[in-house]
């Protein structure tokens, strides 16, 4: 999964989605909720594996179920919906800590997302191309039609300054 193996992810994704879907559907959610919750749970798992201290003390299935359950419980309580009479389908682990860590990370993620949104074009694309898609300065120069790389560099510098400003202000 860490090697971004698409096949592994696909297998994992298809393997446990029905379980989470069943849980959400039976606890006042719909399939879109299930998708969101499930994807968040997988991100939790991903981050957990990435830190390297992930030791599976139970079945992977139980872990994913527990995380999804925790996330969904939080969402339900945020919508101030009743959370009693929860229908459970699997054993549950204590995963509060993992989910809380995830929430912090998720905030960062959303902050970055909205910062990039606020940045506007062409800055957003330049930043994404350079920092996310790892394009070289010359590629960007060609793509955006700058007369030389120095201009592109200057533009990128300004964009990043603005992005930082927005990001840290949010």
């Amino acid at each position: 999964m860490l090697n971004n193996s698409e096949e592994t992810l696909n297998r994992l994704y298809a393997g446990y989605y029905p379980m989470v879907l069943q849980f959400i559907l039976n606890n006042s959610g719909d399939e879109d909720d299930a998708k969101d919750v499930y994807q968040e749970a997988i991100i939790v798992l991903y981050n957990k594996i990435k830190t390297g201290d992930f030791e599976l003390s139970s079945k992977l299935k139980t872990y994913i179920y527990s995380v999804s359950r925790r996330i969904w419980l939080k969402k339900l309580s945020q919508q101030s919906k009743k959370t009693n009479n929860l229908s459970d389908f699997e054993d549950v682990l204590a995963v509060e800590e993992d989910v809380e860590q995830h929430e912090e990370k998720d905030q960062q993620f959303q902050k970055m997302e909205s910062a990039l949104q606020h940045l506007g074009e062409p800055c957003k694309t330049i930043i994404q191309d350079f920092y996310i898609n790892n394009l070289s300065m010359t590629d960007i120069c060609e793509k955006f039609g700058y007369t030389n790389t120095d201009n592109a560099k200057t533009q990128k510098y300004k964009c990043l300054q603005r992005l930082k400003k927005i990001f840290f202000q949010l």
Partner: protein, 373 residues
């Protein structure tokens, strides 16, 4: 080099940033790194820039990773048949269906019990029906006899036809105590028998002889004495030495009909009929034919042998405790027994297995006992 960098810094903030980026990405040469780190150490402002830039680039990196992961997941999501799954798992208005979904495995096991239980109930009904009709038949015969008697008295001539006596055939259950053919059953099953045969679950019959009988504890030990009999594999179950507690789930396999029937229940009392301390009272539906069957706990330990049931009291059956089976077994010359049943403590292959798997393993060791007299 260091002076170069400083000059560049003076010249352009942009260049500084790209150097910081190169530094963070590890693109600088060792000499450049050394010079740059010196600069960092000397200039807190530069150091601060490096740190904040690193933090920012890290969160940008994380953002990128999660974004990629989400994209992959969405891709995976598209390949799923969500609407089908949704339809399948949508909460069903029926309570029963929800219950089913939640406890599939449990229910599957329970269902198999219910199935087996209903089979045994069916066989009770079948039996009682037969008994009932048998009684009716007897009554009819009696009334015929009466009228015939009267006829005899009246006419005093023709001879009365004698009632046809059925060949007395009784049945019970027994279970293997050793792999070379020693079986345990109830004394009352074989009492007064002319010849005894046992039949295994494959339908093969073997002749047996009684090697030990103990009317006090209602136990008998038989030995298969038939040249067609080949030794059994090693016994899967163990004999429990200690008493087991009230409420323990137990089950028995017996032959109230021609095929093995499972009875399931719990130990309802540590004493048997009228406070008999040598027996348990168990709440298991048993029928004639269950006598001598093994009573097993959830771990596949034999805790007793079914002996009788109380009339007029529903679900009260009695089982002689396993200690007495052990005692009976000890009364037999040990060298003739061969590899005998072992007591609990030794590895039990049935432990932790599902009930169905346990039964699968046990049924080769439970025999129908056919008594002719």
């Amino acid at each position: 080099m260091a002076t170069d960098i400083i000059r560049i810094l003076m010249r352009n903030e942009i260049e500084l940033e790209s150097i910081i980026e190169d530094y963070l990405k590890g693109k600088l040469t060792p000499r450049e790194i050394e010079a740059f780190e010196q600069l960092r150490a000397n200039d807190p402002a530069v150091d601060h820039k490096v740190v904040t830039h690193k933090v920012f680039l890290d969160s940008l990196q994380q953002y990128a990773e999660i974004l990629a992961l989400k994209e992959q997941m969405n891709h995976a999501h598209e390949s799923l048949d969500v609407s089908y799954l949704t339809e399948q798992f949508r909460p069903h208005p029926s309570f029963v269906v929800n219950l089913w979904r939640k406890n599939k495995a449990l229910i599957a096991v329970a269902a198999s019990f219910i199935f087996l239980a209903s089979l045994s109930v069916y066989s009770i009904q079948h039996n009682t029906k037969q008994n009932g009709s048998y009684e009716v038949m007897k009554k009819e015969v009696a009334s015929i006899k009466n009228s015939q008697n009267r006829l005899i008295r009246n006419i005093n001539s023709s001879r009365v036809q004698k009632e046809n006596i059925n060949p007395g055939r009784f049945g019970g259950t027994g279970f293997a105590l050793s792999s070379n053919g020693y079986l345990c059953t109830n004394f009352h099953v074989i009492d007064g028998a002319d010849s005894i045969y046992v039949q295994n679950n494959k339908g093969k019959s073997f002749k047996v002889k009684v090697v030990f009988s103990d009317p006090q504890y209602d136990l008998a030990i038989l030995k298969i004495d038939d040249e067609n009999f080949s030794a059994l594999a090693s016994l899967p179950y163990r004999l429990k030495k200690d008493n087991i507690g009230m409420g323990e789930n137990v089950y028995t396999l017996g032959f109230p009909k021609d095929d093995a029937v499972l009875g399931e229940g719990y130990v309802s009392s540590n004493t048997g009929y009228n406070g008999d301390t040598t027996a348990y009272q168990v709440s298991i539906p048993v029928n004639p034919g269950n006598s001598g069957g093994p009573l097993l706990d959830n771990n596949g330990n034999i805790i007793g042998a079914i002996t009788a049931k109380q009339n007029q009291a529903d679900g009260a059956a009695f089982a002689i405790k396993s200690q007495y089976i052990m005692e009976a077994l000890n009364a037999i010359p040990q060298d003739s027994i061969g590899s005998r049943i072992t007591s609990v403590g030794k590895k039990n292959v049935l432990k932790g297995l599902h009930r169905t798997k346990q039964i699968e393993k046990i049924q080769d060791y439970v025999f129908m006992i056919k008594v002719y007299n």
